[in-house]
């Protein structure tokens, strides 16, 4: 199969940033688009949105066009996903497929047009969140990777890594444990604390197992916001400098 989990030893090298993971969307060729996708991954409570807000500011000051995207923000799917979550009628497959539809809608309506126009797309979570959640729920891995074969490999994926203990404290300090983030649909037990712990532990395991496969750049999420932001800026700055240098036609450069 042409998806990203080829069994050949050099499967990782088949992932090309800015291209589809698998066969992609045949009617939407995207190669050569100037925009970039930068994804920030990590479980709830690791501070993704704060980092994205600061990054956006920094990038715009430098003159980069930026758009943000994130799960369930599609016009098409948001009401349906909210309703389905509230009514608790989802099973693991419909859960996965609703989210994939949301992603497809945002990909075609927001992400691809932005890439074409040369924007930097800051993605608050990416397909890896969907894969981690599905993995925990026992959805077939190969099937999942084929499903997201229409996804575009980001140019950079940062994974804000945290351990279970630190995560629990952060979540309790902010907004508390909610039904879905505690994996209560998996009926691991009535105790929301135990359920949250078990669920988040398996989620973290899933994310860790994807780090090599998808080339995550792992950052320690326990460090201070500013420290993480500095590290993000350093790596993103280096990446953008490289790609600006290689894409700049000679005549346009200032001598």
């Amino acid at each position: 199969m042409n998806s990203l989990t080829n069994n050949s030893p050099d499967a990782e090298s088949l992932i090309r940033p800015g291209s589809y993971y698998g066969n992609g969307i045949p009617y939407l060729p995207i190669d050569g688009y100037p925009g970039k996708i930068i994804a920030i991954e990590g479980t709830d409570g690791v501070g993704r949105s704060t980092q994205i807000r600061l990054l956006r500011e920094w990038l715009e000051v430098q003159g980069y066009g930026v758009i943000e995207t994130g799960w369930t923000r599609s016009e098409l799917m948001q009401p349906t996903i909210e309703l389905a979550k509230a009514s608790n009628t989802l099973n693991k497959l419909t859960f996965v497929l609703l989210y994939a539809t949301d992603f497809a809608d945002r990909l075609e309506k927001e992400i691809i047009p932005a890439l074409k126009a040369g924007f930097i797309v800051l993605s608050d979570r990416y397909i890896f969140t969907a894969m981690a959640r599905a993995g925990v729920r026992g959805v077939d891995r190969t099937w999942m990777r084929n499903l997201y074969g229409f996804g575009i490999a980001p140019h950079l994926v940062f994974y804000l890594k945290i351990d279970e203990k630190a995560l629990i404290r952060r979540v309790l300090q902010s907004r508390g444990m909610d039904f879905w983030e505690s994996g209560m649909d998996m009926k691991l037990g009535d105790d929301i604390y135990e359920s949250f712990r078990a669920y988040q532990r398996s989620l973290l395991r899933e994310y860790n197992s994807m780090a090599d496969e998808f080339g995550f750049r792992v950052l320690d999420a326990k460090r201070k916001v500013e420290v993480i932001q500095d590290e993000l800026r350093r790596q993103i700055g280096a990446f953008l400098a490289d790609s600006d240098a290689s894409s700049q036609p000679a005549s346009a450069s200032v001598t």
Binding site: Y27, L76, T94, L97, A104, L147
Partner: protein, 233 residues
């Protein structure tokens, strides 16, 4: 990948599926089959393509705004299918009942590919589906199906007519182009998935006789042609 769709299921029930383009008469044939099965004392459950409550709102929003793309169209239908498989198809099969499906995964394979979605991707997407005991494809030329729809004064809808693809702004013309592509895709599926083909141009009774003969091979129903003619008269 999963290979449920290509491996026989081991539920005690039976799954019979009809496929074909709009106006092929498959729904009529399925209704007659259901009558026959019920009369013979078989508990029958019917399930229709794209009928689950789960995706209704999103499909409606998308259709109203004409904002569905071939990919979101495909994924919404897969979501609907997964929902019905879990709630409406697998439980009756487990209970030893007969499930009659008006369109199945093959409809997605034909339509989505006709819209330019990757063929292999859609097939793998539906690889969680249960393999039908029998899938009958009612094959009909476009002229015949269009005439039937026109005679019933069916108003061609935006997506059904493939107007989202921009092949033609004329609904009937667009419908013909789209259905032509869908027919080509169905032809590939016949061999790939072993669909039984019924010539859907013939008389309703004739088709139903063929259909029942095909189905009876999977059931302990003995039926003579005379009985069949009597019921259909």
């Amino acid at each position: 990948m999963l290979n449920n769709l290509t491996t026989p299921h081991d539920y005690p029930g039976k799954l019979f599926v009809v496929e074909g383009i709009d106006g092929s008469g498959k729904t009529t044939q399925l209704a007659l089959l259901a009558k026959w099965l019920s009369a013979a004392g078989h508990p029958v459950v019917l399930t229709e393509w794209n009928s689950s409550a789960l995706v209704k709102a999103a499909t409606k929003t998308g259709k109203k705004k004409n904002s569905l793309t071939p990919m979101t169209f495909s994924l919404l239908h897969a979501t609907d299918f997964a929902d019905r498989l879990l709630y409406n198809i697998v439980p009756p099969l487990k209970a030893g009942m007969i499930v009659l499906a008006d369109r199945y995964a093959y409809t997605a394979f034909a339509r989505d590919a006709a819209r330019g979605v990757d063929r292999r991707w859609v097939r793998e997407l539906y690889s969680f589906a249960v393999k039908p005991d029998l899938a009958v494809y009612f094959r009909v030329p476009i002229e015949v199906s269009t005439d039937r729809l026109m005679a019933r004064r069916v108003k061609l809808k935006f997506y059904e007519a493939g107007l989202d693809m921009g092949w033609s702004s004329n609904a009937i013309e667009s419908f013909r182009i789209f259905q032509g592509k869908v027919l080509d895709e169905y032809d590939r599926l016949v061999e790939e998935f072993g669909l039984s083909v019924v010539n859907a141009v013939g008389s309703i009774t004739e088709q139903q006789r063929t259909f029942r003969r095909l189905v009876s091979q999977h059931l302990a129903i003995e039926e003579t042609n005379e009985q069949l003619d009597e019921q259909l008269a």
